[in-house]
């Protein structure tokens, strides 16, 4: 088992935002995480990667049997947890090409591989620009996926790669996720719209509601139900409860 989350309770300040999450991911496996706004999907990813404001009150997160909660953000990245955030800070004065070079050096990724992925994700024209400054929605998603491909993590956490982007970009980021999987990564992908599922259907989907995982099942089936019943339907759902 690559990732084992058991009975996870998380607060941001005084507020409880995750209330007893159980989630498992095998090596090489892809899972989607869906649910309405504010249900805790992004919070779960941010907790796994270790953003300090997400305070774990109870439960455990094991990664390759190691206790992730004892490790800093940097250490988690180093042992193979990578993330593509949904909201990105603008970093003025840091050129994208410099960031990518630094990341490649850190992970020992050959220059040719970096060059290949730059074209694969169509970001060449952004290289001379400051990181995330005035990037469009699609450009940001592509850049984040590119950093993951350069990092080659064992576990890729990908937050809403398909929201706020056009069809063409959904296709590109979906191929990038496929590429990550074919390179041996596992992935936990948050999707609100389910647009990426069309390109990578062979996966499980978890449905979150109010900080809890309500159910899981085959991704295509889950999204079919959600599109007809809405997230409200989850409450009465007969699918296997987590």
């Amino acid at each position: 088992m690559l990732l084992e989350i058991k009975n996870l309770f998380v607060n941001v300040g005084e507020r409880e935002i995750l209330s007893g999450i159980n989630l498992f991911l095998e090596e090489g496996e892809l899972s989607f995480l869906t649910g309405p706004n504010g249900s805790g999907k992004s919070s779960l990813l941010n907790t796994i990667i270790g953003i300090p404001k997400y305070e774990v009150k109870n439960g455990s997160i094991l990664f390759n049997k190691r206790d992730l909660l004892r490790l800093s953000l940097t250490e988690r990245a180093k042992i193979g947890v990578g993330i593509a955030f949904q909201y990105l800070p603008k970093i003025k004065g840091l050129l994208l090409k410099d960031l990518l070079t630094l990341i490649s050096q850190k992970y020992g990724t050959p220059k040719e591989t970096l060059e290949y992925y730059i074209d694969f994700l169509r970001v060449r024209e952004l290289l001379e620009r400051d990181v995330n400054v005035n990037f469009s929605g699609g450009e940001m998603k592509r850049v984040e996926l590119l950093t993951l491909l350069v990092q080659r993590p064992k576990l890729a956490l990908i937050d809403e790669p398909d929201s706020g982007v056009d069809v063409e970009n959904v296709k590109i980021v979906s191929y990038a996720i496929k590429e990550l999987l074919s390179e041996g990564s596992s992935a936990l992908v948050v999707t609100h719209t389910g647009n990426v599922i069309k390109y990578i259907p062979d996966a499980r989907a978890y449905v979150m509601l109010n900080g809890k995982i309500m159910c899981y099942g085959n991704a295509v089936d889950v999204f079919k139900d959600i599109s007809t019943l809405g997230f409200d339907g989850c409450v009465q759902c007969k699918r296997k409860k987590n």
């Binding site: 940097t74 990245a77 990578g82 970093i91 003025k92 004065g93 840091l94 990341i103 400051d130």
Partner: protein, 403 residues
């Protein structure tokens, strides 16, 4: 032309006149100062001096330089032009020329404050660079004002770029670590019609130095003045407020400054651009980093006196310690209706989101912080020549290292 005796008289009267900005200092401690002639030649400079000069952009072997000036303490020990149409003099030699003499103290007044007054009375050395009409100087011209073992340096520099000429000038001012000093550099720039001057000044002082540069520039029709000021190391006190007069139609000025202050340093720095020419444009960008107990005031002023003018002002401050302070004073003044003046100012500490973002990509907290500081200081403008881009990059790295 102003008579010498008159100037001396006015200066003497202004010796106690406070500067409009910045902390006051007691100049009486420097009154007994006498400038001496240096015996040492440029060829015999000490290894330590050369190394220190190179830190502020001076190339001792002069590779890729069109000309050089080196001042040790209060003596011009080297002047050299390697390009036709480019003339480099020591102030003393240049003052034999009427065209230079009439420009001395024409943009700045000896009695504007005690520092100009003091400098005018000392007034030893400094460089005069003249770029003759139509001359496009390929490689940069370099100068270094070096304080080795004296407590006062008060050079007077005059830069004249005649019609249709263009030149890049790099000036490095530095001091040996153990010297307690006062540096008052007086600089007057005359930028002719359609001439272009890129002036980069790099300062690297020690924590015992008081620095009071006094600068003014006039830009004629179609002329352009690009001014970079970078203060690499912390000083005891620093105050400067260059004024750029865009007199001619379509004249342009860009002024960028980066200042670092740490320990108990007090810095007051700004630029004023006066838009007198129709359709003239001015841009002022400043970046300040404060640490420890340092205090930085960062000013900027745009004054529009003519129609179709445009100006933008930007103050950015990065605070690295809770006990340091940055105070930004952006000012816009319009005396006509058809102008467009804008400003933005932002002061803050290093963003947590940015640090987390970089840490999630595998960087340590320290690495993330230094990447962000470097990003903050790196000054980039399109069309900057390669050598300058490279030099500024090295300087950015030094700033991060020194901090």
């Amino acid at each position: 032309m102003q008579k010498k005796e008159e100037l001396i008289e006015r200066a003497k009267k202004a010796l106690n006149k406070l500067s409009l900005y910045g902390p006051d200092i007691d100049l009486s401690q420097f009154r007994s100062f006498k400038a001496l002639e240096e015996k040492i030649g440029f060829e015999n400079l000490d290894e330590k001096i050369i190394k220190k000069a190179e830190e502020v952009g001076f190339s001792y072997d002069q590779s890729s330089r069109s000309g050089s000036y080196f001042q040790l303490n209060n003596s011009s020990i080297y002047t050299k032009s390697r390009t036709k149409g480019l003339e480099i003099y020591s102030l003393e030699d240049a003052l034999k020329m009427e065209e230079v003499k009439e420009k001395l103290w024409s943009l700045l007044s000896v009695d504007s404050d005690k520092f100009t007054a003091f400098a005018s009375l000392v007034e030893k050395a400094g460089y005069v660079i003249i770029v003759r009409k139509g001359t496009k100087v390929d490689y940069p011209v370099q100068s270094c004002l070096f304080m080795n073992n004296v407590e006062v340096q008060a050079p007077h520099n005059i830069i004249i770029a005649e019609e249709d000429s263009s030149v890049n000038i790099i000036t490095g001012c530095t001091i040996m670590p153990e010297v307690v000093g006062l540096h008052i550099g007086i600089s007057e720039f005359f930028i002719g019609r359609n001439a272009r001057v890129t002036f980069t000044m790099v300062h690297s002082w020690n924590k015992e130095t008081h620095v009071r540069p006094r600068t003014a520039a006039i830009v004629e029709e179609g002329g352009e003045f690009i001014n970079y000021y970078i203060n690499v190391r912390s000083v005891l006190t620093l105050q400067t407020f260059p004024r750029i007069y865009l007199e001619g139609k379509n004249a342009r000025a860009f002024s960028y400054s980066t200042v670092v202050a740490s320990k108990n340093s007090i810095v007051d720095i700004g630029t004023e651009v006066v838009l007198n020419g129709e359709n003239s444009r001015g841009e002022i960008v400043s970046k300040s980093i404060s640490k420890d107990n340092a205090k930085i005031v960062t000013r900027g002023k745009l004054i529009a006196n003519s129609k179709y003018t445009k100006g933008h002002l930007e103050c950015n401050g990065l605070i690295l310690s809770p006990s340091s302070k940055i105070y930004a004073v952006p000012e816009l003044e319009s005396n006509i209706d058809s102008t467009e003046l804008t400003h933005e100012a932002a002061i803050g500490k290093i963003g947590e989101d940015e640090v987390n973002y970089l840490m999630s990509k595998g960087f340590s907290k320290e690495e993330a912080t230094s990447i962000l500081i470097k990003g903050f200081v790196s000054t980039r403008t399109k069309g900057l020549p390669d050598y300058l881009q490279k030099m500024l990059k090295n300087i950015d790295e030094m700033i991060v290292k020194v901090l």
